[in-house]
Amino acid sequence: MSDAPHILTLKIDDQDVSAVEGQTILAVARENGIAVPTLCFLKGLSPVGACRLCLVEIKGVPKLLPACVTRAAEGMEVTTDSPRLREYRRTILELLFAERNHVCSICVSNNNCELQSLARAQGLTHVRVPYRHPRLGVDATHSRFSADHNRCILCARCVRVCDEIEGAHTWDIMGRGIDCRVITDMNQPWGQSDTCTSCGKCVHVCPTGTLTEKGVAAAEMKKRQQFLPYLTAMREERE
């Protein structure tokens, strides 16, 4: 293998684009200004392909593949937007809205919720599946942050940032299926966690109003994720 990166050419939405070997379809699309909706993906964290919003069609491949983990290949013909994909994305969003309770006082006023933005971008007008209305609590035991499990979409960004960047692995997911929930340590109140360093990274990568800062007006609750690329680069350097 030579050291020079291998350049590939492919088509995304009928647009000729080039990619460095190893790049994901999502990375190539974004470089070329092609919008692909994502929710669990966050640059700087390991991709998990869980939310299924970034599914794309690839000519000759019968299954839809997640753009966030699928690598670009020579001659690939990718479609990121079609009536079918739009319909699937809408349904997935509806499933998320119905899964828990997204009657949220924070996002409605500050418009910083990624779930809300996606719903708008995908033209959601209403949710066709019945709302489940589970009874989930709010954990406000931490001195600086609070966790409202009703808003959680289980994207596991908090779990990943805490493990991969902060190195504390305070967060993880317990249970299975529809009963999954993010937990701190042994499913104990966040404020009593033995391992939380109160760094707040989880709060800033949370795409919804699940993890928020206390004592900040809703309108000021902006998520700041600019630290991620720096820290990721430094972690990689160390390895």
Partner: protein
């Protein structure tokens, strides 16, 4: 031990076995044990001892196939089979060996249940003591391995597998030879072989039976695979719910290690291989390759997107071969008799035989092995003896929660991977549940959806939330509270979940709904429009108050 020494061991055991003129094989597999097969075994042993009989051996063996009629005892040399034997029948059974066949308990072995079967995987099942290495050796055990190690290169072994046309018996039907050659070609400092014994289909017990009745066969298959792909370590991942299977495979590993069939320098060659048992802990999703790997690594059994496939990057990132129990069990006879021999059985695209766990509303429930290409009708009505209690056949379910329900009109179709897929079901791992008119197909669909919902790992949205919503809609239909809009929504969710889920569990979860909608839509409509359950299973409230 060298091959010569092992063969000597086998010859000695054959001689020993011949010393006994009579042999009583008592089934001690889980099925017969649960109806007190062990007390029959003890009673027969005591009877032989108290009468001081010479040349009579009482032996505990693996599954004798007809679970419905257990406990089963087989008497050699006449090969008579006795059913529903109780401990107090022991004296009569002993006397039966001396010219007085016991008609009262006789089970006709020329009946189609036995005659129509073709046993390869189960060839030793019920014929050897599963806890005896020598018994396995005496039945040509490890001959396939010895042939592979001493006469063939790894590439030749893979070529033999490719010739055989064997396809994965776990459900997917991926060509085994191709899988092996992919792993063999993958580069890695280490490679692993995993045996998937996390039998997940809730209505199937093939793998359990093979592990309980003939554990060495699976080990032999794994070692051959290790040699072929260049792996030196294997994991046997077995459900913790199968304690007997776990015990027997552990015992077999110990025995094989003792005689040098596992460890360094197997059979005096330079090849080394070890096997470790790992217990599953009750997660259907771990039947999925990447979830299974996560579980062996000690993590939550959540799948990850493929590619990369485990063949390239699997356990701890190393190339990994994963096959299921039955697939490995097919390997020794293929190596012993040649791939061409195996390819001579079955249909054009589905070779060999398939083991099915025949259960449900059918007379002869049990474990059967049939050649590929046999018709469903033959399995259900000849081998299975038809539907009991004068009831009418309605459907047969194959493939468990990932499969579908096949109606009467398709019963004459050959059983192979492609035909089953064509009618909306799958081969699956081998569960075959027969249903009669007393089963409601909407209720069956709801049952499977409840299963998928509780087995969904929760990682991807469509499977986690979609199965829950589909289950809710099916419950609504069963309760007679649904509208035609609900049915349309259910069908829409089926499509989305099928096409967008991350792994096989979610992608196939809608199958039981889709197949029942395809063949039994009228039953759905009866629940929705007429507010009645044709089979009388669902409890529908009279004049249920339905809005909209």
């Amino acid at each position: 031990m060298t091959p010569e020494e092992l063969r000597e061991l086998a010859a000695r055991r054959r001689e020993e076995l011949q010393e006994f003129k009579y042999r009583l094989n008592v089934c001690l597999a889980a099925g017969c044990q649960s109806c007190h097969g062990d007390s029959v075994y003890k009673a027969l042993k005591a009877e032989v001892e108290s009468r001081k009989l010479e040349g009579v051996q009482v032996r505990g063996v693996g599954c004798l196939s007809l679970c419905a009629e257990g406990p089963l005892v087989q008497v050699e040399p006449d090969n008579l089979l006795y059913q529903r034997v109780r401990a107090e029948d022991a004296p009569e059974l002993i006397e039966s060996m001396y010219g007085k066949p016991l008609k009262r308990l006789a089970c006709p072995t020329d009946a189609p249940f036995f005659a129509a079967q073709k046993q390869i995987v189960l060839e030793n099942s019920g014929r050897i003591d599963p806890e005896s290495l020598e018994d396995y050796l005496a039945a040509d055990g490890y001959e396939g391995l010895m042939r592979a190690l001493t006469e063939m290169t790894p590439a030749e072994v893979i070529a033999e597998m490719t010739t055989s046309g064997l396809r994965g018996r776990g459900g997917g039907g991926f060509p085994t030879g191709l899988k092996w050659s992919t792993v063999a070609k993958s580069k890695g400092a280490k490679k692993f072989v995993i045996c998937n014994g996390d039998e997940g289909d809730p209505g199937a017990f093939m793998d359990r039976s093979v592990l309980e009745s003939d554990p060495h066969r699976v080990i032999e298959g794994m070692i051959i695979a290790g040699y072929a792909v260049g792996a030196s370590h294997g994991y046997a991942y077995i459900r913790a719910e199968y304690p007997l299977a776990v015990k027997r495979i552990q015992n077999a590993i110990k025995q094989a290690t003792k005689v040098g069939l596992l460890g360094e320098g197997i059979c005096g060659t330079g090849f080394g291989f070890t096997i470790e048992v790992r217990l599953g802990a009750g997660a259907f999703v771990c039947g999925e390759e990447t979830a299974l790997i996560a579980s062996i690594e000690g993590k939550r059994g959540q799948p990850r997107p493929r590619p990369p496939f485990p063949a390239e990057s699997g356990l701890w990132g190393y190339p990994t071969l994963i096959n299921n129990v039955e697939t490995f069990a097919n390997v020794p006879p293929i190596l012993r008799n040649g791939g061409a021999w195996f390819a001579g059985m079955g249909t054009e695209k589905s070779k060999g035989t398939k083991v099915f766990a025949l259960a449900g509303r059918v007379k002869n429930t049990g474990l059967i092995e049939v050649p590929m290409g046999i018709t469903l009708r033959k399995i259900i009505f000849d081998i299975g003896g038809g539907i009991p209690d004068g009831k009418k056949f309605k459907a047969v379910q194959t493939g468990g929660p990932s499969g579908g329900c096949i109606p009467e009109e398709h019963l004459d179709m050959p059983v192979d991977y492609d035909s089953l897929a064509k009618v909306g079901s799958i081969m699956g791992s081998g569960g075959m549940i027969v249903m009669d008119e007393t089963s409601c197909m909407v209720d069956v669909a709801k049952y499977f959806m409840e299963f998928c919902k509780s087995e969904s790992c929760g990682k991807c949205v469509p499977c986690r939330a979609g199965t829950d919503q589909m289950h809710g809609l099916l419950s609504k239909i069963c309760a007679g509270e649904a509208t035609m809009d609900d049915l349309a929504l259910l069908e829409h969710l089926c499509e989305v979940v099928k096409n967008t889920s991350l792994c096989g569990l979610g992608q196939t979860a809608p199958n039981p709904v889709l197949s029942t909608l395809r063949y039994f839509r009228h039953e759905y409509l009866a629940h929705i429009q007429e507010k009645r359950c044709p089979a009388g299973v669902c409890k529908i409230k009279a004049a249920a108050e339905v809005h909209a």
